[in-house]
Every structure is written in C-alpha cells, then in structure tokens.
Symmetry: C2
Subunit: 252 residues, 2 copies
DNA sequence: TAGGATCCACTGGTGGATCCGT
DNA sequence: ACGGATCCACCAGTGGATCCTA
C-alpha cells in the first residue's frame, strides 16, 4: 500500500499535507486501493499509518524520524470539530532501565520533538458517545477547521484531514520540555515509576503504554530493587497540543 | 416541631451533637414526631432544619448565627462514606449592590465563619447514581465515620449523622479567607459579577444561588451600568471542607 | 517489543437550576 | 427574598487497558 516516494524537501512535504486538507480518511484509503475497517476498536493506529503512506514517510521502526532525511516526525492528532485534541499525544517509551542516565540533550523526547508535522484529524464525535445532549441545546462551533466541511458520522473513515502544522519548539517551549523531562525523570528516580502520576508535568506527562497489561517491563523501585511494571511513555498533554494548533509558539 | 431548648453553652451543644452520631435522619425525625419525604428533590434543606431543631438553634432568618448567644453557626454537610463532602457549602449571598464597599472585617463571610459547628451527614450514594461500577471492583473505605455503621439505601432518611466538628479558622486560614474574599470582590468590581467563575478562589468560591433562574438581582456591570443577574453566593469549596473534616487546621 | 495510536470507566469540579420553609 | 441546602448535566482529565503492524 506504499504509493508515494519520499518528499524531496520540507516544501514538498508541506504541499502534500496541504493537498489532503478536507479529505476524508475513507476517500484517502480508497485512493490508495485500501479499505478502512469500521470498528473503531480494531483500527487504532491505522489513521497514522495511512498518513505515513500518503506523505511518503520512509522511517521504519528503527528510525528516529518518519522522514529521516528531513529530520521530521509525523504526528496525527484526533481533534474535535472545535480543533481540540481528544487525547494526549504519544511521544516515546521511557527507557526505564536507564532512567536518570540520559540527559535532556541526548533524550528521545528531544529528538522526536525537534521538528514535528502535526496533522489534525477531525472526528465529529467520540465513538463511545452514548447520549446526546438531552436538552437539545446547541453549543455552537467556535472554529471551522476547513471550509465547507460537512461533518456527520463517527467512523474512522469519516474523519477528515485538518490544516497541517510544522512545529519546532521555540527556545521557551524547549526549556519547558526540558524542565518537565528533568522533573519527571527525577520523580521516577526518587519514588519509582509507580509513583509518577499523570498529574505531573506542565506539557509532558507520563502514562502507561502497553499492548496489554500483561506486558511487563522492569524498572528500579524506590529502594533500588527491581520491579515488574507496565511500560510507560511520555505524552504531550492534550492541553498543550491544543494551544500549539492555535499558536505554535504558545505554552498552556 | 421545635423540641429542644437552646443549649446553655458550647459544651452542651457539643454533647447534643455527639449524642446524635450514628443515628439516621429517619430515626431522628421520627423521634421529633415528624416524617421525612422520600423524594430527594423535595427535601432539600430539610436535613439542615431537622438538625437545627434537634440542637436547639434559635436564630431566625434575621439572626446572623444559628446560636446567637454562643456565636455559633450550624452547617450540615453531606459526605460520602469516605467522609468527603458531596457539595460545596453555602455561606451567604453576595451583597451585589455594595460589592467593594464591605471590608473583610465587616463581611458576612467572616461573621458566619467565625465559629462553625459542622455536622457531616453520611449519604451512601448520590441519588442520581445511574450505574454501579460494572467491574465490581471494590475500592475500599479509607475512613469509617462511625463504628458499626451499616450503610445502604440512598434516601434522605438513610443518611446518618457523622462526628461533629467545632471549627474556628486558624490565623492562617482566616488569612486565606480574607485573601479570597478580597480577590473575589475585586474580580466582581473589575469585570462584573458575570465574569467571576467558580474556578476563582482557593477555599472560597462564587456560584449562583437563586430559588429559580427567573429570580433576578441587580449588580453593576464592567462599565458601571446596571445588569439584571442571577443572585450569587459565597461557598466553601468541597475540597477545603474535606481537608477541614480531617484536620481543622488544614488548608488544601 | 517498538511504534502507530484510541478506547473507555471513573472522578472531580463547574455551571446553573431548583426545592422548602419562614 | 433569605436562609436551609441539593440535584444534575456536562466537561476535563486521569488511569489503565487495548488494538494493529512490522
């Protein structure tokens, strides 16, 4: 299903992403000769992979970036019709065994986030929505992600591509990322990974990341002993990405 | 239905409250020859009035305190079985017309809160609870409000009296109250009452307080014009009262 | 297992409506 | 209208589980 050659430069990558704005994932998958499953539970990650194909990403599982020759990472982010992310954005797994030994400058977080292409995918509603507003009160749409959009339905194929954003952290943002990274790694070192909650961190946060809760990783505990634990990842807070999408220089 | 004479002193008031611990409101109402309605929507405030009768409160609507000769205010507070308040605690209405003209020292907030008898009423669950934990996982009870309690049912009559607490703000707490009062009144003065949200304030907050939304009060707007608005009250944050019930000197 | 992610149950808090008795 | 309060819908956020592909 890989159809596109890698983009030659940033301008070409940007142009390709811009050309997709407004398209539904169903259309895009069809254009590539593929189909999208209807079950939202079975299609996690498919949207991200589809966009990688469409934009000509070449980085395999081994590469640091999706576009190694450009040093750019692709992130799709599901957003509400108002443009707010529905979820936090995964960055990378935490190297639990080496926690505390990797300074910010050498961290995967820094390398992944050095240059990111965010592609919002507008999802009309959550899949799991069980009830509509019983009073029928309509709260209005503050932001039209693209003109002429007609939004209805909740399946993966109904999601539409929103305006893409190239982002490099400003010095101030990078400083905030470093502070969070140091703090969170410090917390892991002090109390052990189990003690770090999703509340910690201004724009980064630490959350579980495992294919199944039966997957275990090993990490040093508070007393230095080895603990079997769920793998964790760094995530960008939804709040922060929401701010970014409106103003790339913003901090929440 | 008023049965008790006013308590002679704080010790007697405290003894009466302590004697009620563990009793259900149904029992208490019955002992007074009264009955409690079953509909939770129709019984708002009844619990508070019942306790006033039982403890011999004499302050009418005109008085500042429920026990004027003791200078004590009675507050019932609905709590979960873990002892956490289910709601914020009403203090008093905001004098919208005089906002900004009443210094903390002369404020109703300060007078009301100078000395409070908190009586927790343990409610097993919210009335409006629509679903139980589907996984059946039991999260344990961190605090047994009284020994031997057997808690079940959700009606008003099933609520049970918890351990009472006499509270006077510590100097640090009073300072926090004053700061919030000044801040909130300042916000009202700057942007008008409509701009003050429930987020403002560390331990006090401002929320609507009206018998019906058709009830209007008048307040000065941002430009100094007169606005019809919903009456507002000062409330103690649930978070703060939760802290108080565990440690009367605490701040959240 | 790493990398692409999303689902969903639950909790805390807000915003606002509402009820009763005096 | 004031003083006694509670109800309830909604939303943000967390905590943790889970899915697919390579």
């Amino acid at each position: 299903m890989r159809c596109q050659p890698p983009p030659a430069d940033l301008a070409e990558l940007g142009a390709r992403a811009a050309a997709l704005v407004g398209a539904s994932l169903a259309d895009l998958a069809h254009g590539l000769g593929g189909e999208l499953g209807a079950d939202p539970v079975r299609t996690k990650g498919h949207a991200g992979e589809l966009l990688e194909h469409l934009l000509g990403a070449t980085g395999g599982p081994t590469a640091v970036h999706d576009f190694p020759h450009l040093g750019v990472e692709l992130k799709t982010v599901p957003v509400t019709p108002l443009g707010r992310p529905r979820e936090s954005t995964f960055v990378c797994l935490i190297p639990l065994l080496a926690a505390g030994d990797v300074p910010w400058a050498d961290s995967r977080v820094r390398r992944k986030l050095a240059h990111v292409l965010f592609v919002p995918l507008v999802a009309p509603s959550r899949v799991g929505t069980r009830r509509a507003s019983p009073d029928g009160f309509h709260r209005g749409r503050a932001w039209e992600p693209f003109q002429g959009s007609h939004i209805s339905g909740a399946g993966l194929g109904d999601r539409r591509v929103g305006p893409p954003l190239f982002w490099r952290p400003t010095p101030v943002q990078e400083r905030a990322l470093k502070d969070d990274y140091d703090d969170l790694m410090g917390l892991v070192g002090v109390g052990g990974i189990e003690e770090v909650s999703g509340h910690a961190g201004r724009i980064l946060q630490v959350r579980p990341k495992a294919a199944s809760s039966r997957c275990r990783a090993f990490a040093p505990g508070p007393e230095g002993e080895w603990l079997a634990t769920v793998p964790r990842g760094f995530y960008l807070r939804a709040r922060f990405v929401a701010a970014l999408l409106r103003d790339p220089t913003a901090l929440p």
